[in-house]
Symmetry: C2
Subunit: 211 residues, 2 copies
C-alpha cells in the first residue's frame, strides 16, 4: 500500500503545505516523532558494540527494538489520522433534512469525533514512550552522539504536544462527558510528564557535554 | 542535485536510524522545522480567500511567502549540516606526525568547528522566524485550522532547541573565546524568545478553541 512514507520528503512537504487539510497536524506530529525516533535509533546503533558502553548494551538493545516498533506504530497512526479526519468530514456532510437523518448524522459525527480523538491520543502515548527512551538514552548512550539523543527527546515532546492539540480541537464538540473527562485527565498527565522528561533529557545532555 | 528531500520519507528514516552519523540531529531538526512550516503554509492557504479573514489577508499572504522562503533556506541548511559534519571529520583525520602537520590539522579542525556551529545557529535563526510567524498565525489564521498553527509553533521551537544542541556539542572544543561568547549569548537569547513564543502560541490556540 502506498503511504505518505513512500513519497519523497519534498512531495510530503508540498502536500502538507497545500490547502488540502490532510495531512494535518496529527500526521505531521507523528512524522516528527518518527524522525525523533530515528535519532534515538541512531544513538543506539552508535552505542551497541562499543567496549566503553558494554554495561548498558542490553538496555540500549532493548531501546533499539522498541524504537523500531514505535516507528512502525507511528507509520500506521499517520495514515489512521488522515482516515479518521476524512471520515469526520464525511459524517458532517451527511444529509439532515428529516429528523431520522439528523439523528443518523449526529450519531455518525459523534462516533467520528471519538475516532479523531483516539488517534492523536494514541500518537501522544507512543510519543511519551519515545520520550522516556530518549531521555534515558541521553543519560547512557554514546556521549559523542548525546546531542542527537537530546534531539530525539525534544522532537518526541513537540510531537506529543502537537498531537494533543488535535484532541483539544475535537473534544468541545463531543457530547459524552464521561469520555471527555477521562481523555482530558490522561492528556494533562501526559503533557506534564512530557514537559518534565524533556527538561530532564536536556539537562542530561548539557551535563554530559560539559563533563 | 539529489538531496535528502528527493528520497522517500521511509529512506530518510532508514538513513537517519543507521549508525552513519549523518543525517544527524542538525539535519533532522531542519527537516522537522520544514514540516512545521508546511503546517504554517497550510494554515495560510486555508485562510487566504476567505471572506471572514479578509482583514488579515495581506499579512497572511506575507506569511505564506515567508514560509516558502524559509522552507527553501532550511532545505539548503539540511545539506550544509551534513557537509560541515563531514568536513569536521576529515579535519580530525588529518595527519599529525610533524609539528607542521599538527598545526595545519588544528587550524583545519578549528575552522571546521566554527562552520559546524554556524550551520545549526543559522537553522535556529530560521526556526525563530518560523516560530514568530506561526505564533501570529495561531492568533489570526483560520480558526478551523488553529491546532495546525499550534503544531507549526511547537515544531519550530523543538527544531530550534534541537539545532542548538549541536552548537552546545561543538563550542567546548572551539578556542576562539570571543566567538564562543558571542554565539552563546545569541543562543541563550533565541532559546528564551522561543520558549516564550511557544507558550504564547499554545495559549492562543487553546483560547480560540474555547472561544
Amino acid at each position: 500500500m502506498s503511504t505518505l512514507y513512500d513519497k519523497s520528503l519534498r512531495e510530503v512537504i508540498e502536500l502538507s503545505s497545500s490547502k488540502s487539510p490532510t495531512p494535518g497536524g496529527g500526521s505531521i506530529s507523528a512524522i516528527a516523532a518518527v524522525l525523533g525516533l530515528s535519532m534515538a535509533a541512531m544513538v543506539c546503533n552508535l552505542t551497541i558494540g562499543k567496549e566503553k558502553y558494554k554495561d548498558v548494551e542490553p538496555e540500549v538493545k532493548n531501546f533499539l527494538d522498541a524504537a523500531e516498533k514505535l516507528i512502525d506504530r507511528l507509520v500506521e497512526l499517520t495514515e489512521d489520522d488522515i482516515k479518521v479526519f476524512n471520515r469526520l468530514m464525511s459524517a458532517y456532510r451527511m444529509p439532515r433534512a428529516s429528523e431520522e437523518e439528523k439523528e443518523a448524522r449526529e450519531a455518525a459525527v459523534q462516533k467520528a469525533l471519538k475516532d479523531a480523538t483516539e488517534v492523536p491520543m494514541e500518537i501522544a502515548r507512543v510519543c511519551l514512550q519515545a520520550l522516556q527512551a530518549s531521555c534515558r538514552l541521553s543519560e547512557i548512550g554514546n556521549k559523542a552522539a548525546v546531542s542527537d539523543a537530546g534531539v530525539a527527546a525534544v522532537m518526541a515532546e513537540a510531537a506529543l504536544n502537537g498531537a494533543l492539540l488535535n484532541v483539544d480541537i475535537n473534544t468541545p464538540t463531543i457530547k459524552d462527558r464521561e469520555y471527555i473527562d477521562r481523555i482530558l485527565a490522561e492528556k494533562e498527565k501526559m503533557l506534564a510528564e512530557a514537559g518534565e522528561l524533556r527538561g530532564q533529557a536536556l539537562a542530561a545532555v548539557r551535563q554530559r557535554i560539559k563533563g
